[in-house]
Symmetry: none
Subunit: 201 residues, 4 copies
Amino acid sequence: MAKSPLVVTDVPRGAGRPRSDAVRAAVLAAAYGLLLETPLGGFSIEAVALRAGVARTTIYRWWPTKGLLAIESFLDGFKPKLSYTAGDDPEKAFRKLLASLARALSGPDGRVAASVVAQAQSDPETQRIFREQFSDPLRVETSKLIEAGIAQGRFRADLDVPRVIDAAVGAIYLRLLLGQTLDARWADSLADMLLGGMVTR
Amino acid sequence: MAKSPLVVTDVPRGAGRPRSDAVRAAVLAAAYGLLLETPLGGFSIEAVALRAGVARTTIYRWWPTKGLLAIESFLDGFKPKLSYTAGDDPEKAFRKLLASLARALSGPDGRVAASVVAQAQSDPETQRIFREQFSDPLRVETSKLIEAGIAQGRFRADLDVPRVIDAAVGAIYLRLLLGQTLDARWADSLADMLLGGMVTR
Amino acid sequence: MAKSPLVVTDVPRGAGRPRSDAVRAAVLAAAYGLLLETPLGGFSIEAVALRAGVARTTIYRWWPTKGLLAIESFLDGFKPKLSYTAGDDPEKAFRKLLASLARALSGPDGRVAASVVAQAQSDPETQRIFREQFSDPLRVETSKLIEAGIAQGRFRADLDVPRVIDAAVGAIYLRLLLGQTLDARWADSLADMLLGGMVTR
Amino acid sequence: MAKSPLVVTDVPRGAGRPRSDAVRAAVLAAAYGLLLETPLGGFSIEAVALRAGVARTTIYRWWPTKGLLAIESFLDGFKPKLSYTAGDDPEKAFRKLLASLARALSGPDGRVAASVVAQAQSDPETQRIFREQFSDPLRVETSKLIEAGIAQGRFRADLDVPRVIDAAVGAIYLRLLLGQTLDARWADSLADMLLGGMVTR
DNA sequence: CTCTAATCGAGACGGTACGTCTAGTCTTAGT
DNA sequence: ACTAAGACTAGACGTACCGTCTCGATTAGAG
């Protein structure tokens, strides 16, 4: 794992005590744990420091805002097992992808994602990083999968892929943010509906 | 407009000094104004009280949490001009509806909506009210519009209407929450994509 | 008992609902009870109103300040059984008087007196009433008793009676206010000391 | 002057930013000033913080209750010039001592003392400290002075010294707390009366 | 036997201070 | 140069009372 995907740390490495990786890991783990367990806004630098057994000052040195700490811990700890395996049946692959995303966000980790999105509303920097580091990569992978289906002639050639992704991901997030269940049946019916306009006839 | 959409106030008017409607209006206006102008989390009861020229305690008397104040001010102040006019062309009507929703959320009022959704992540009660008082009614109207199209035979009879709405509204919200532009062109391309699977052939 | 020793109520008595004596009594009793039970500053108009089952406004109508309510309830409720019986032995009478005052102030009622004196430090009006309605009458009675002793030739003719009272009462109050025990033995030793300079030889 | 007469601060000096003595002094001075100038209960932590130019939280860190702040500022600021000089005439020394105590308490500083005693009525801890840090030392010194007189044979050998002090100090406090003048003439007449029973014949 | 005027109860309202929590900054000592 | 510890400024939190106010309901005596 790289030191930090968000902060450039390629300084030539001068003298002095080197940064403790143990501290960084402890902080991120504590932050993620707090986001997991206290959905009701109990996420404070104070609490993270206490749980990580780390001085508050140390956190401030490395993470300028609460939002950036939250999102880095999210990127560090949230590893959804998404199914990008195209296989030979693009419809099935699309269906599986939506289902795996819904499942990943339906549990407690989903609350973390929702918290991060909420944080991002009051911090453009957090918003940008969420988009670039989490949202966009996911879209790229999904794009590839759909375009494979187009190449196979199974999906319509004139399909507006980015819009499909907007709709699919947006629907999932909306349910997450409104506190509604994200079960497999629902994910499947969403895939059904979207595929209705995607498949060639 | 009724006194309050959230609280039942049909008590037969007992003794005691009656609640001042001027105060209620001033607080809600101040709250909405703050949500509009200070996107960066500057929404505090303190600030609302100051701006409304009202005692802080008065706010606490009527709004138990920040979230409930935020959402009531949102419901009171956010009146999107949505186009539910079915007309005789369901496709056009659907297109117009999506466009009007996108437009309504693209301006500063959209930031208010985003803030409210963010607040709702740390307050289930706020979340519930947002869903019941804002989200659901909008879905019902949209449903009617789509079903009119089905009745006219212009939309597929087996259309999964709730899923279509999930996708449409979800896509719009996603862009809003990720801080991306919500222009007419984008809304139109979204409508195109969805209609691709909705219209009969 | 007169309506109120503190407030003039000799208005000509026009029309309208007359003041309820039940309310007055309930308030004073509640106030005294609170002063008895919550020595730690838990004496608020709010609490008195609640305990008396009376509207807060009603209290404000009749008692302009907290101090005046406190002292009126004290005067109304604190009825020490002081021994002013001169008898034929002035020494014994003096001794008994000091003992009875110490005993009266040693129990919970003593805490009430201390509270009132404390209140009086931030309200000159309360201070004045305490002096005039409680302290001075007690001094007058004590004076008589001592002067009877002088008349009998048992106490020194040139005795500075007010100073003796200052010393006796002051010593008792000091112990009360410093939270020290006010037992009979102590009261007796105080009387001994004072009599040492009072009796003729 | 030691750091604090109330709190032991002999810890070996660990890590962390050291406590600012400037802040401590500013707070105590502000507190004493408020006690001096606003006899009518205007002594609030809020006001002290404002006057001292210090954050409210800093005060709470070091002084758990209002009473303890009041008394520490009193002990820090009230330095009566008491006359404990025995000299060769015990009567004169006793007289001077009473006069100097009365004078010290007759001015605005006397109001501070009264306020502190009032505060102590709703806070046993404050009461205890007042007794131990202010009252008792004063008694010890007075004791010495009187006992010197006994040793010289000028005061009665069987004199109950603590009771004499109770009477003398109590009388002074009583007048202070009842808002009566504490002039030299009065102090002298008190001394006269007490000495009447103290001197040998 | 109604009118009328004061009371009492109820509760909203603008305030002040409370004591707590968290955010950030700063200043030391230790590694 | 980093970490740990902790003092400090700043300010919002939610609560408790304060004292004022506006009502409705009640309760006598006066007309």
